[in-house]
Amino acid sequence: MTEVDLFRQSNLIDPALAIWGWEIPVYLFLGGLSAGVMILSAWLARTAPERARALRLAPLAVPVLLSAGMLALFLDLGFKAHVYRFYLAFEPSSPMSWGAWILILVYPAAPALAVAGLTDGEASALAGWRPLAALRLARPVARLVAWCRARASSLAALNVGLGAALGVYTGILLGALGARAAWSSSLLGPLFLVSGVSTAAAGLMLLPSDPGAHARLRRWDVTAVGLELALLALYLLGLATGDEAARQAAHLFLGGGYTAAFWTLVVILGLLVPLGLEALEARRGLRPTAAAPALLLAGGFALRWILVAAGQAL
């Protein structure tokens, strides 16, 4: 049969259109997760200071997660050797520049929050750790630990601020980086922040903790999921009532090629089913399992993957 093609815009015809692969969604996901961990840990520090150890030490995961994310990003960079240039200047109008500097601040701020959450016993155990004495670092470490613990509430506030900035930045990054109609919404920043909080709550719920903290995290998570659904609705509404390009972007999720994937993986699997499981947990006092957190984490990654892929399809 004679082949007729209606769509020029496929990456088989215009290869330059599909630039971003898996690296960017991984970076965005880990960034959002880190932001959420910072915010929730800070909030737990204020409201439940005597929480379980795993939760108090959770902010230590932030540098690890971010480094993994940045590694993914690094692999995606066209000219890898130029990465140092991010740190030679600060460009207020560039989200990438903001992001580079926020990340620099996050690296010390999050572990500091973890250290500030150490109990007396843990603090002295840390200071008395033998290798430190051998390296003559025992006293500086002890002073650093004391410094952090004395400023616990300021560090908490700092982490909330930086976490929020990090979360919003991941959303703004997409918007600033291209004339992609699907990314032109200003709601992506708050959306990725809320999604980050939800995935972080899911991750933290997987850590061993007491039922009280778990219930708190779950309540936060239910709120975050609700907000995320609302923001997704507003995002789609905004696109659908925008200009022609925006409407075509909205169509991707409302009848176009990404409709089934989006509603199935992001909304049903990633938000509605875990929400249902958490509601059942609350109403019937069921024992919490890893099911809801696992689905939330998968859904959070799917959200970023699908948004990045769909955004490049137009």
């Binding site: 049969m1 004679t2 007729v4 209606l6 815009q9 176009g256 090629g257 049903i268």
Partner: protein, 376 residues
């Protein structure tokens, strides 16, 4: 005539995407019921084969009878056409592979403790044995695919085509449905007796006598009731579905047809009934030239793949030609005929190289509507 309300197999783009979401919803209900019936547990499933717990028989045949009588009733009421729905849903009959495959699956079932569907439900409950079974099913499927070319002769042996029991037995479907329902109910009663005897044996106790439970009464009443209603519809003379609806052709616009022809040509069968010479000169891509006079020889009544049929004439086609009335599946006519296609639909690359004579000032309307983005 419409085969079902929302026929998935002939949908493209947007409607198909929504259909896939529908699949998740239906699957959710399926998985939920299976789990609540206890089919996430190997012990319950295998007990069937040791006669101590006949839940598998009751649920499976209960489901079959419910769906069967419901479908026959719906067909009797003229909501759907039983034959075309059934052919769209069930695979053709291949006697030997299905017989051997059934035996092998039965063995695999009792060895692993699950069937493929219940292994997914078991995995969902957190059971590692269910996960291992599902993994095995995946591996086995691929292995068979690898050797399938060698087994081709066997794989398609005993090909009886789409064959249904009511055709084999020569009885109307509602009659057979009632017969199956009665047989199933008899089987349930027998199964209950076996259960009592064998589980008592296992426990070393005398078999207790158990009478009809409310649940069984409800179920039996449902089966018999719906089957009887289905039988009653046999008495209606000339059901609306077979009659006048078949003479009206559903209109399809040129851009809709273009979309189907380009995106999923295997879902549509286009026949051009114009004069042969005009058809051979220029026609809808993928269409067959069968002038109206020769339509009766095209064998349309024997086509069983359920594809939608689109007839292209010079202009509008109000009535379905007699030769096409026996076609099983939707019969559509291109609104405006080939003239509309020429006006609105894309042309072949050779023609597109030269600017269209009437399109110079009207490039926008001449181009087909782009139905949304998304990857092609």
């Amino acid at each position: 005539m419409i085969a079902t309300f929302f026929p998935f197999d002939s949908l493209v783009t947007g409607a198909r995407e929504v259909g896939l979401i529908g699949a998740v919803v239906i699957g959710f209900a399926f998985g939920f019921v299976l789990e609540r019936a206890g089919f996430g547990r190997a012990s319950k499933l295998t007990a069937q084969f040791y006669l101590t717990d006949m839940t598998v028989l009751k649920v499976m045949f209960g489901a079959i009878v419910t769906a069967m009588t419901g479908l026959v009733l719906a067909s009797g009421l003229g909501l759907v056409d039983l034959q075309s729905v059934s052919e769209g849903i069930a695979s053709p009959t291949f006697v030997w592979p299905m017989l051997v495959g059934g035996l092998l699956l039965g063995v695999g079932f009792i060895v692993s403790g699950y069937c493929p569907g219940t292994s997914a439900v078991s995995t969902a409950s957190g059971n590692l044995d269910g996960l291992l079974t599902f993994a095995g099913v995946i591996i086995g499927s691929v292995l068979y695919g690898e050797v399938q070319p060698l087994l081709h002769g066997f794989h398609v042996s005993g090909d009886l085509g789409p064959l249904f029991l009511y055709q084999v037995l020569g009885v109307p479907a509602p009659v057979l449905a009632l017969g199956v329902a009665l047989m199933a109910m008899g089987a349930f009663l027998g199964a209950e007796r076996l259960e009592r005897v064998f589980s008592a044996k296992r426990a070393g106790l005398p078999a207790p006598a158990v009478g009809p439970t409310p649940a069984r009464r409800i179920a039996f009443a449902t089966f018999s009731g719906v089957a009887a209603l289905g039988l009653v519809t046999l008495a209606f003379p000339g059901r609306p579905s077979a009659g006048e609806a078949a003479t009206r052709a559903l209109p399809i616009t040129a851009s809709e047809l273009a979309q189907r022809v380009i995106e999923a040509p295997w879902k549509v069968r286009v026949i051009d009934v114009r004069d042969e010479a005009a058809c051979l000169a220029a026609r809808v891509p993928g269409s067959a030239c069968v002038p109206l006079a020769k339509l009766g020889e095209a064998g349309l009544e024997a086509a069983t793949d359920g594809r939608a049929l689109v007839l292209v004439a010079d202009g509008d086609l109000a009535e379905v030609p007699a030769a096409a009335r026996a076609y099983r599946g939707d019969v559509m006519a291109l609104a405006g005929g080939y003239a509309a296609w020429k006006r609105e639909a894309p042309t072949t690359p050779a023609a597109a190289a030269a600017p269209a004579p009437t399109g110079a000032g009207k490039a926008a309307p001449a181009r087909p509507k782009k139905k949304g983005g998304g990857c092609s």
